[in-house]
């Protein structure tokens, strides 16, 4: 009966086909090795980016030297770097709360804007307050403004199972045009010219080391989020909901409440970042449509590269800040296009995400097909 299976054809057909490499699962890597892998992948990105820069006729070594010195050569340069990092760091910390819950909040941009809008409103509504109280009121307003912008999406998701990715994304545009409306309408400072006036002196952040205090808020927040996610009951609930909603329900958790609360918090932090930005030097104390300037989207990359770890977020935001500040300096030095920065960021994202494969698997040489032949003959 099995006459179609005899004969040597089968083995001849298969013995030569063994590929030269085999993908083998690795044992869990220790932390030092993991970090080494990430460092290597950043270096790979720098090398590829360097080749690209060389193609543009610029010596890559000089370019990267300029990137570095553009950030660290002087106090002014370094302060410029910090001003870029702070909003990115805060918004990234905000989105990891949502991402841990597998809630795809890509609306940080709009949440930041709404935080800034509410803070500006508070500043205009209570003009006579002394600075410390004013700033607290504005911070609360910012958190509420951003928080509501996030809560809306969670409310509809819980009630009608709407898609939060689309919802949060679309609200970005709504927030953007609210600012556009305000600067052309009710809050217009000079007739005929779109723009909202600078905040009053009592609504501006005090300075430490000639930097406004937002960097202190950001660093405190790193520890706060770390502890919140790792050690609190609410953080635990986020982890369980993110793992499996049915398990969370089974454990007696009120999934809707957790989802709405977490989203309010996530978006509220983005809103706080907006408030700090609008009352800081970086925005010239002015609310405008460019207040978020893409931070909400960059934060998504930062959060993932950092594997949703708050300390990782700190490191990655710093790296992204260096790239952005340093590259903008290097661009003008060498008369290169501004797109180069984005290409470099993309490359780093690509190599780090790609390195994940090598962290989990290794390639192993197989014995190859030739040896098998000998064995059979």
């Amino acid at each position: 009966m099995p006459d179609n299976l005899n004969g040597g054809g089968i083995s001849a057909q298969f013995r030569a086909k063994e590929p030269p490499f085999r993908v083998v699962k690795r044992a869990e890597l220790p932390l030092e090795k993991l970090i080494l892998f990430y460092v290597i992948s950043v270096l790979v990105a720098v090398v590829i980016g360097g080749l690209f820069i060389a193609l543009n006729g610029v010596n890559p070594f000089l370019y990267f030297k300029e990137v570095f010195s553009g950030c660290f050569r002087s106090g002014v340069a370094f302060r410029g770097l910090v001003r870029i990092i702070v909003p990115l760091l805060m918004v990234s910390l905000g989105v990891i709360l949502a991402f841990k819950m597998r809630y795809w909040n890509i609306g940080a941009e709009g949440q930041l804007i709404m935080g800034a809008v509410f803070a500006t409103w508070a500043s205009r509504a209570f003009p006579g307050l002394p600075t410390p109280i004013m700033l607290i009121v504005m911070a609360v307003a910012g958190i509420i403004g951003g928080g509501i912008w996030g809560l809306i999406t969670a409310f509809f998701k819980c009630r009608f199972n709407t898609n939060e990715t689309l919802f949060t994304l679309m609200l970005n545009y709504v927030a953007f045009y609210i600012v556009d409306y305000l600067r052309n309408g009710p809050w217009q400072a000079d007739p005929g010219f779109p723009g909202i006036g600078r905040l009053a002196a009592n609504s501006r952040l005090p300075q430490i080391f000639r930097l406004d205090i937002s960097w202190i808020v950001a660093i405190v927040l790193v520890f706060f989020i770390y502890i919140y996610l790792k050690y609190t009951k609410q953080g635990y609930e986020i982890a369980v909901v993110g793992d499996s909603i049915s398990t969370a329900r089974y454990a007696g958790m009120n999934v809707n409440r957790i989802m709405q609360r977490t989203m309010f918090l996530s978006a509220g932090i983005c809103g706080l970042a907006g408030m700090l930005k609008v009352s800081g030097v970086v925005s010239n104390y002015t609310l405008d449509t460019g207040i978020a300037s893409g931070v909400g989207f960059t934060a998504i990359s930062v959060a993932w590269l950092a594997k949703l770890n708050p300390f990782g977020v700190f490191v990655v935001s710093f790296l992204f800040g260096v790239l952005e500040k340093g590259c903008s300096v290097a661009e003008s030095t060498f008369h290169l296009s501004a797109a180069i920065t984005q290409i470099l960021q993309g490359l780093i994202l690509f190599t780090i995400l790609g390195s994940d494969f090598f962290i989990r698997y290794k390639l192993q040489l197989t014995r190859g097909g030739r040896k098998l032949n000998e064995h059979n003959n």
Partner: protein, 518 residues
């Protein structure tokens, strides 16, 4: 090649032979130097505890994994199987535990889908061609029926027809009887015998010793990744097989300790439940659960067991009727209130993880899943949870690198022990457990049975939703049989036979049921 006994001319007698197969995952050795052979026209049973490497070994034969070392011979010729495609070409067909079928296609389409037929259009001919295969091996599948309309047993027959259509001469079945009724199992075995008689080589993986003894010609036993013995089925018995598998003598009798039945715990009163599609899956079901008893629930998979469990745990709305816990209606209670009342539910779904555990969290974090919210502190108490984790890992022999290992990295059996361990550790008043030994090996299963008996002796009421009727007959005090969502009888386990239960599960007539129930 060694023993190429040419019984039929040039065709060697041994269809498939494995020599010195080793496979490692990271630092874990799943298979270590395994030898195995199957002759043409033979059914080989592969026996072993959870994590002994059965599935890994078979996955290498079907091209899903590749061995680190060792060789595979088919018809005496050495081959390298790099992909499922290679396995298919070599005539190896695997029937997985979880069916790999497209629900919205007909039976015939599921078969021809992977057969790389010529031509652009699907023609009527595919129905005839696929029917021929079924006829040849006595498979009973309607080729024009859609898969979503099929019963589990039909789907399984279709899976078999599929691999036979591709020309499989070596068939591997991974726990094929886990989801079948006794009658369906009987039918499956007839098909397997007919295939064997036509010259196929069959490897069957199962935990059920009685089935091994009934269907197989030879048995190969794996223990901790090594092949410890191969025996002729007719020369062995259940006790010897268990001893080979576990490595020491194990008593196979399940105890049913006599406990004085206490007060009523749970009274389910004319309960009707709809599933998420709005179809009534539990219809007018009434039963009582008392302190100190194990009430078994038997029924074909998907007879509303899941919804029943969830309704009692407060996770699924009730359409009609009521559930009383100690004479109090619990319909409006939240799941957390029910947990605090002492109602515990552990449902082991097919994928073993779905509900009850958070797969990416570690064992410690999973221990506090149900009681993390206790106390006023805003912080979780990981210290107590860690102690619970250590205690359970030790008492249930859970194989894990540490209590900080994510649950998803554990093997299926160990995942289950984590879940059940946690539920039992909370010493609930009502313990609902569905499929607690699903896919577990003998040793672990007996550990679970003992734990359930301990709960019963401590005065808890246990609702045991099971699939192995032999076990239920020995373990349970009473058995409620569900059929199409209705109760077809509640019987004393000591006064009923397996065949009667099987009939009640598929229900003949009302009178029959009453006779059985009486």
């Amino acid at each position: 090649m060694t023993e190429t006994v040419n019984a039929k001319g040039s065709v060697p007698d041994v269809a498939i032979e494995l020599k010195g197969i080793t496979k490692k995952f990271g630092t874990v050795v799943a298979n270590n130097n395994i030898d195995l052979s199957v002759r043409r026209g033979e059914i080989l049973a592969l026996l072993g505890e959870n994590g002994s490497g059965k599935t890994t070994l078979m996955n290498m034969l079907s091209g899903i994994y590749r061995p680190d070392s060792g060789s595979v011979f088919i018809d005496g010729k050495r081959v390298v199987i790099n992909s499922p495609e290679d396995a298919k070409k070599l005539g190896i067909g695997m029937i997985h535990q979880h069916f790999k079928l497209v629900e919205v296609l007909t039976a015939a389409d599921n078969i021809v889908m992977g057969a790389e037929e010529r031509g652009v259009f699907l023609t009527r001919k595919r129905f005839e061609k696929t029917r021929e295969i079924c006829k040849k091996y006595g498979l009973n599948v309607d080729m024009e029926k859609y898969v979503y309309n099929m019963s589990v047993s039909e789907k399984q027959s279709l899976e078999i027809a599929k691999v036979l259509y591709y020309g499989a001469k070596i068939l591997i079945l991974d726990e094929p009887t886990a989801v079948l009724t006794p009658q369906e199992t009987k039918h499956l075995f007839e098909i397997l015998r007919s295939m064997r008689d036509q010259g196929c080589a069959i490897i069957i993986i199962t935990h059920k010793l009685n089935e091994v003894l009934e269907i197989s010609d030879r048995v190969t036993i794996l223990r901790k990744g090594e092949s410890v013995a191969t025996v002729e089925t007719r020369n062995t018995n259940a006790n010897e097989l268990t001893e080979l598998m576990v490595g020491r003598k194990v008593s196979l009798a399940i105890e049913r300790p006599k406990v004085k039945v206490g007060a009523n715990l749970l009274h389910v009163h004319h309960l009707t439940i709809e599933n998420s599609d709005g179809i009534e899956v539990i219809k007018n079901v009434s039963f009582d659960l008392n302190e100190g008893e194990i009430l078994g629930v038997a029924g074909i998979a998907g007879s509303g067991q899941k919804e029943l469990c969830e309704a009692i745990a407060g996770l699924h709305p009730i359409k009609k009727g009521a559930i009383l816990y100690k004479d109090e209606n619990i319909e409006r209670r939240t799941p957390r209130e029910l947990i605090n009342l002492g109602i515990s539910m552990s449902f082991i779904p097919e994928d073993r993880l779905g509900m009850g555990l958070a797969a990416s969290l570690d064992i410690t974090d999973n221990m506090m899943l149900k009681n993390y919210a206790r106390g006023k502190s805003p912080f979780v108490d990981r210290k107590t949870a860690g102690e619970t984790a250590k205690r359970i890992v030790k008492s249930l022999d859970i194989v894990t690198p540490s209590i900080n290992t994510p649950v998803r990295r554990l093997s299926g059996g160990n995942v289950q022990k984590v879940l059940l361990g946690r539920e039992i550790d909370a010493s609930p008043k009502v313990l609902i457990t569905a499929y607690p030994v699903r896919g577990l090996d003998i040793n672990s299963s007996y550990t679970i049975y003992n734990l359930l008996n301990t709960q019963k002796q401590n005065g808890a009421g246990v609702l045991f939703i099971g699939e192995d009727l032999d076990v239920m007959l020995e373990l349970c005090d009473r058995i409620m049989v569900l059929c199409h969502g209705r109760v077809s009888g509640i019987v004393k386990a000591s006064e009923v036979t397996k065949e009667q239960l099987g009939l009640m599960m598929t229900r003949l007539s009302e009178s029959e049921v009453e006779k059985n129930a009486g």
